[in-house]
């Protein structure tokens, strides 16, 4: 009786199924097709390793990061491989699924055979999924999977995660393997005198498709997209579309979110009636969190487009095109997309820097992203430009002075970032990493992206943004609200603690030609830069300054802000890292408080010094 019970229990017990494979081998799509709609992503601080897990039947499927090998180059890979070793020792690990790319059999076997030997050594069941089988069958190439399985010493299942060919059979087989794993421990391993390389070449020669057939389409498209002239045009066209999408297409969605939050605020506060709680909810909660949630749609659109570029295979080409120019500044070709994204919001941009192969270049890219003029700076620029720059146009309206000023500010941010990168490269030690990976990148086949992994990516990006930035924004918004609300009985900003602090710190801003009102506006904009406009509006007695920038600009002009002080303030906003959410993200992604707060202080000082110089020149 007792024996039977254990038997039943052991067959019902939830096991972990480990999914491994080389990058660009269709592994993510296979994962998405095997698991349901619910996924969990586990991150490790400071590294780009991500373990995705989902439900497969009653078992848990864990997707490991793509790897070329079990021997490691960087800290990231070290952690990923450590996790694989841990899984091999774990009694809960039922099966290891090794994803092979049928179109690049030799390359995927180099890793596949290493994993097979490890599984054999640890007595773990292993199966191979020969993925993207549709792409070789298209060329009427057939793989004799039974004989391949004999040669590999482990079962091989031809599947296509895209067309779903063989997926049903694979699922059934996988359940069978989990039920009796002891029957599926690999029977072969690399013998003496053989190497992983020789065996994988031998097997690929016998079973694989000829490389030239598969690569033909890719090379044809490349001869257009990597052409020195046409490729350049295509590159700028695609980047222009990306830029357009984050600013134009995301706007209606952002307005929608704003409207919903506004509607919610009215619904909630009108039910409560006037008073302290009402003011708190209205300004601190709906106002503070609203100004932050508004960025979620923009981040989702941005992630969608970048995902589209990556899954189609273009991102690797974009990195190739940008590599040479960026290498002059000590950056990698892969730094380009994060930099571009930084013009929408630094937070997804810092997370996008994960794809940079060299840890050192990744760190430098992440550290300089906050200098890109993000969209939260836009209202600040708009206000100050309206105050300082006359609205004159040249060449019959083609060239406007104000428009040029906008361009100069964006350009200034990029130039500062590149200069800081050069400095960081010079003054940081090189031997921090195990080895500096040179720029060598696989150019994957062009493929039509599949909606499933894309959708998960977009949802994950929104979740990560809210989780990373939400708590900080909430805390700061409550603190700033309290400081601005008390102790005056009318709750006027000009009599609040915040104003007192402003007057107290006035000496700090006086050398820049700014009085305490600007000081207060700068202080509150640490919550989010665009709050600057609203706060200044309140202090200048203009209600709803966000919608009435012209009115506020006229007031500031009448108040007599000097050109030097105004330009200095603009420069200050270009450089200063005034965003607690970005600091929190930097801390999370670099795994270092020191880097995050060091940058906060460093850019703050640099901004102050530059503003000081500018205010004295003009």
């Amino acid at each position: 009786m007792g024996v039977n019970l254990t038997l039943i229990q052991s067959s019902c017990v939830m096991k972990n199924i480990i999914l491994v494979g080389k990058p660009n081998s269709g592994k993510s799509l296979l994962f998405n097709q095997l698991t349901g709609l619910r996924q969990k992503v586990a991150n490790f601080p400071g590294v780009t390793v991500e373990l995705k897990s989902g439900q497969f039947g009653e078992h848990r499927l864990i997707d490991f990061p793509g790897a070329y090998s079990l021997s490691t180059l960087s800290r990231d890979e070290e952690i990923a491989v450590e996790k694989i070793h841990e899984a091999m020792h774990d009694d809960n690990t039922g099966v290891i699924v090794c994803n092979l790319d049928a179109t690049r059999l030799e390359r995927s076997l180099v890793f596949g055979l290493q994993v097979r030997d490890l599984a054999k050594q640890h007595n773990k069941a292993l199966v191979f999924a020969l993925n993207m089988i549709d792409e070789v069958e298209r060329f009427s190439h057939n793989v004799d999977c039974e004989r391949l399985a004999q040669d590999l010493g482990a079962p091989v299942f031809p599947v296509s995660a895209k067309t779903l060919t063989g997926l049903h059979e694979f699922k059934l087989a996988l359940l069978d393997v989990v039920a009796r794993p002891e029957n599926f421990v690999p029977t072969k391993s690399i013998g003496a005198g053989d190497t992983v390389f020789s065996i994988s070449r031998q097997i690929a020669k016998h079973y694989g498709i000829h490389a030239d057939i598969v690569l033909k389409q890719q090379n044809t498209i490349d001869s257009f997209l990597l052409n020195s002239v046409l490729g350049g045009v295509a590159f700028f066209g695609i980047m222009f579309l990306l830029f357009q999408s984050i600013f134009t297409w995301a706007t209606p969605l952002m307005d929608g979110v704003e409207e919903i939050i506004g509607w919610l605020a009215v619904a909630v506060t009108s039910a409560i009636g006037p008073g302290l709680i009402n003011d708190f909810l209205q300004d601190a909660i709906f106002g503070g969190l609203g100004s932050f949630l508004v960025f979620v749609p923009q981040i989702m659109v941005l992630t969608f487009i970048i995902g589209l570029l990556e899954d189609s295979g273009y991102l690797a080409r974009a990195a190739l095109i940008c590599h040479k120019p960026l290498s002059y500044f000590g950056l990698s070709g892969r730094s380009f997309i994060p930099y571009l994204s930084g013009h929408a919001c630094a937070i997804p941009a810092i997370m996008a820097a994960r794809t940079i192969e060299s840890p050192r270049k990744r760190l430098i890219t992440m550290m300089t992203i906050p200098l890109m003029s993000c969209s939260a700076r836009l209202p600040v620029y708009a206000l100050l430009i309206a105050v300082l720059i006359p609205d004159t146009t040249y060449l019959g309206g083609l060239l406007s002075l104000q428009g040029t000023a906008f361009f100069v500010l964006y350009f200034l941010g990029i130039v500062t970032a590149l200069l800081v990168s050069v400095l960081l490269n010079k003054f940081t030690s090189k031997d921090n990493d195990k080895a500096e990976m040179p720029f060598i990148l696989e150019l994957p086949n062009y493929r039509l992206p599949h909606w499933k992994p894309l959708l998960f990516r977009v949802l994950t990006s929104a979740k990560q943004f809210i989780r990373r930035a939400g708590p900080v924004i909430f805390m700061v918004s409550v603190v700033i609200w309290c400081l601005g609300y008390f102790p005056s009985s009318e709750h006027a900003l000009e009599d609040s603690y915040l104003a007192m602090i402003g007057q107290w710190i006035e000496p700090i801003f006086a050398p820049l030609g700014l009085d305490w009102r600007y000081g207060v506006a700068i202080l509150v904009s640490f919550l989010a830069r665009e709050v600057f406009v609203g706060a200044l509006g309140t202090l200048f007695g203009i209600e709803g300054a966000d919608e009435n920038i012209a009115g506020l600009a006229a007031n500031i002009q009448a108040d007599g802000l000097t050109l030097g002080a105004g330009l200095g303030l603009l420069i200050f906003y270009v450089i200063a890292l005034q965003c607690v959410a970005t600091v929190a993200t930097l801390k999370g992604e670099t795994g270092s408080k020191k880097v995050a707060w060091g940058l906060f202080a460093g850019y703050g000082l640099l901004a102050y010094a530059s503003a000081f110089v500018v205010s004295h020149i003009f």
């Binding site: 090998s69 021997s71 179109t103 030799e106 690569l215 490349d222 990597l226 070709g333 060598i440 990148l441």
Partner: protein
């Protein structure tokens, strides 16, 4: 001669990796297919001494000069 000297549309055989490379990097390059005797084909070169695009075995890679310089080749054809 090194991989960097291969003109576009020409092929060669890899004859070794420079000893100055870190062992971990050498190992990775081997795993990516840059093994002795492997044939490589230069698919294209980029302007301004930018990265090369090469086909090595069943993969297409792009690599910069600093690494292509360290891959010795023979029998250019």
């Amino acid at each position: 001669m090194t991989l960097w000297d291969v003109p576009a549309k020409k092929s060669a055989l890899i004859s070794g990796l420079d000893a100055s490379l870190l062992p971990a990097v050498t190992n990775r390059l081997l795993e990516m297919g840059l093994t002795d005797g492997q044939s490589v084909r230069c698919l294209r070169r980029s302007p301004m001494r930018g990265p090369l695009v090469v086909q090595i075995g069943d993969c297409v890679y792009t690599l910069e000069q600093s690494i292509a310089d360290k891959v010795a080749i023979s029998s250019l054809s």
